[in-house]
Point group: C2
Chain length 193, copies 2
DNA sequence: AAGATAAGAAACACTTTGTTTTATAACAAA
DNA sequence: TTTGTTATAAAACAAAGTGTTTCTTATCTT
């Protein structure tokens, strides 16, 4: 990829995330992004068809990266010997978030964070699907699989949200424990088929 | 209140909800609302400072109503004799939603429904707080109360969401059962203090 | 060095926003 | 019915934003 393209793309992404930590998505105009990124009007539209597409590409880059990183975590592929750290992937995820390398936390804690939560949740579902290939229930009533996966993904996002809203006072282990406490009664982790 | 005000307010609310079931909030302009409501430009701004305030007032009217209705439900005030329909308030809520009197479902199923989910969730928290005055845990680890309440509220909203995404094929009782299955292991319903 | 490609500047028609001004109609109370 | 009040409407307005076009300049790749 052309170095010029890389630079402008990075400049726009940078300006965009910076603006997002200031004000809500709706209140940000393309003009502001252009000014902040110090980029020509024509250039912006050459890269992104619209503001929504810019958002989309940013989210895909960030969340896909963080989820992929968690998926590559040893625990995902190891043969789970019964009860050894059943959801360490989530702890890994939280720790990764805590580092805040690519400002994902800035986005998730921004006003109108709904958009990012949606992308986050969407990416989480596939992680959960891979994490709990077999879902069995402690209750008598069987739940639809996609319902359960959605529930778990949502619970995780809400946990992170709650954490952020408290300025991340608790350390990653505590947060992971909260999440598993809320989730674990419903599911049991079985071996990968 | 002046009859003229009532009429325009109703006209604007009507036009707004109609538009919301068509397109997403961001894509709706004040101009469109004005045109659809058949109301003068000046009139709109005399009623609502901005589009966001319009949304806010609409949501408050709708959700406050539906939550209040559920709170008034007998189960909330009755002395809970152990295990008689522990969460019938939620069933009541779902049934109320199903009637879709005030088009809440239209809003919740609209594109970019995040905004409504936020209001919904916010209103739910107080309901849950009143419903489970005492929260005890089946697990050893005590969870922060606001974390738990947030989790339950979010789980309910997600349940409704999932329901809507499946075109509400399941009847209200099944949905309530799903929700309680996911929630019940964590909490136990104790008597109101 | 040469051709391809990306960036930038300026201007454009267009829409949206929120305000102001003035005039008309509906209202409530006497 | 009359009177004073208040809501509405129409039109015009400046300001800002959007997305596109044209043309020029700078920067890459080979």
């Amino acid at each position: 990829m052309d170095r010029r393209q890389q630079k402008t793309r990075a400049a726009i992404f940078g300006a965009f995330t910076a603006l997002l930590s200031e004000k809500s998505y709706n209140q940000i105009s393309v003009q502001e992004i252009i000014d902040a990124a110090n980029v020509g009007r024509t250039t912006f539209y050459a890269h992104f068809e619209t503001k929504d597409y810019l958002l989309k590409e940013l989210c895909e880059e960030l969340f896909a990266h963080i989820i992929e990183s968690a998926m590559g975590h040893p625990d995902t592929h190891s043969h789970p010997s019964a009860y050894t750290a059943p959801g360490s992937v989530f702890l890994h995820l939280i720790q990764h978030l805590q580092k805040n390398d690519n400002h994902i936390l800035d986005l998730l804690s921004s006003e109108n964070n709904d958009i990012f939560q949606r992308y986050f949740k969407s990416n989480l579902r596939q992680l959960i699907l891979s994490q709990f290939l077999n879902l069995t229930f402690v209750t008598n009533m069987p739940l639809p699989k996609d319902y359960l996966i959605n529930h778990i993904a949502a619970a995780f996002v809400e946990t992170v949200n709650w954490w952020i809203s408290r300025n991340m006072q608790e350390n990653a282990e505590v947060i992971a424990a909260y999440f598993l406490t809320v989730i674990h009664p419903i599911i049991t982790h079985e071996s990968c088929v």
